[in-house]
């Protein structure tokens, strides 16, 4: 299925968010996620089923003022 990851279309085979993040290379990274604009806590990633066209945000700590 095709989903948007941080604004770019990506093909993923994993159905659940946790597995999709693994496939996308995030592995053990400290990241926080939202699906279709809604925050998804780390404990919920196993349960979240992705659907074609979903928009996933994957954010990490960054410099800020």
């Amino acid at each position: 299925m095709k989903i948007q990851v941080n604004g770019a279309w990506r093909e993923v085979s994993a159905a659940r968010l946790a597995a999709a993040l693994e496939d996308l290379g995030y592995g053990e990274s400290v990241v926080t996620t939202a699906v279709n604009g809604e925050f998804v806590a780390v404990q919920a990633r196993e349960q979240i089923l992705l659907r074609d066209g979903d928009s996933v945000e994957v954010l990490a700590p960054m410099q800020g003022g």
Partner: protein
């Protein structure tokens, strides 16, 4: 000692972590500023590059308290979601709430800000709202549950200092018990000293340090200025006058009478 959300702070200089020439310079600047609170943000992470991981390790090594922001958010929904994400990744209830209303000045959307502050406070966040010097907005933010306010000195990154002295003085006088931190727009250590002299509790500096030719030296200069301003405030400055008052006693002046 300054206390914000039951957290005592020795340093009245909060430092932003953006726009430094290198992570090493950022780390040295934080130490030179003797900052206890450093602002951080969240940005999109690439699975291939994982740029955020190194930054996060660096910040953790600094041993400072982090204040995550919602920079770049233009709506209540974006700001609230970003706050949720920040709380998870940074493991803190503190959030520097920014809801930007206008791109040229990065002026806060004070209507969205108040709404987001209410939502987040109800969810247990400890909100640091980036606001203007407007008294009515300040009142609304306090009603929403904020126990600190962060009025701008001038537009973010502009280096102009305290743009509206009259408004800022009024804000300070109107809310004597509320911690007020000048956030944004300061360019020089003298601006920071002036803020503390006026009775503001602290300042948050980013661009003025990060973009200085020598950020570490500038961080130290800001630390000294903040210390001087706070000491001057505690010492009770004199009122400015329009006419001269001789400082040398006039009684016994030679050649008179």
């Amino acid at each position: 000692m300054l206390e914000i959300y039951e957290t005592p702070l020795n340093s009245r200089l909060l430092l932003g972590s953006a726009r430094y020439p290198s992570p090493a310079v950022l780390a040295a600047a934080v130490r030179a500023a003797r900052a206890e609170v450093v602002t951080v943000s969240l940005r999109r992470e690439s699975g291939a590059e994982r740029a955020g991981q190194g930054f996060w390790s660096l910040v953790r090594e600094l041993g400072v308290r982090v204040l995550p922001n919602t920079a770049g958010c233009h709506s209540v929904k974006e700001a609230v979601t970003t706050a949720h994400m920040a709380r998870e990744v940074f493991a803190t209830a503190w959030i520097k709430l920014e809801v930007i209303g206008e791109d040229d000045t990065l002026q806060p959307d004070v209507f969205g800000l108040t709404e987001a502050a209410r939502i987040l406070t109800a969810e247990g966040f400890q909100v640091f709202p980036y606001t203007t010097e407007d008294l009515v907005v300040a009142e609304r933010l306090l009603e929403a549950g904020c126990r600190v306010l962060m009025p701008w000195g001038a537009p973010i990154g502009s280096g102009r200092g305290l743009n509206n002295l009259f408004g800022l003085r009024a804000l300070r006088a109107h809310f004597p018990g509320v911690p007020l931190i000048i956030d944004a727009g300061l360019g020089l250590p003298s601006h920071a000293a002036q803020a503390l002299e006026l009775g503001f509790d602290a300042v948050l500096i980013n661009t003025a340090v990060a973009q200085a030719r020598d950020p570490v030296q500038m961080a130290a200069a800001f630390a000294q200025a903040v210390e001087a301003g706070a000491a001057a405030r505690a010492a009770g400055p004199i009122e400015a006058r329009d006419l001269a008052v001789p400082s040398t006693p006039v009684i016994g002046t030679a050649f008179r009478g």
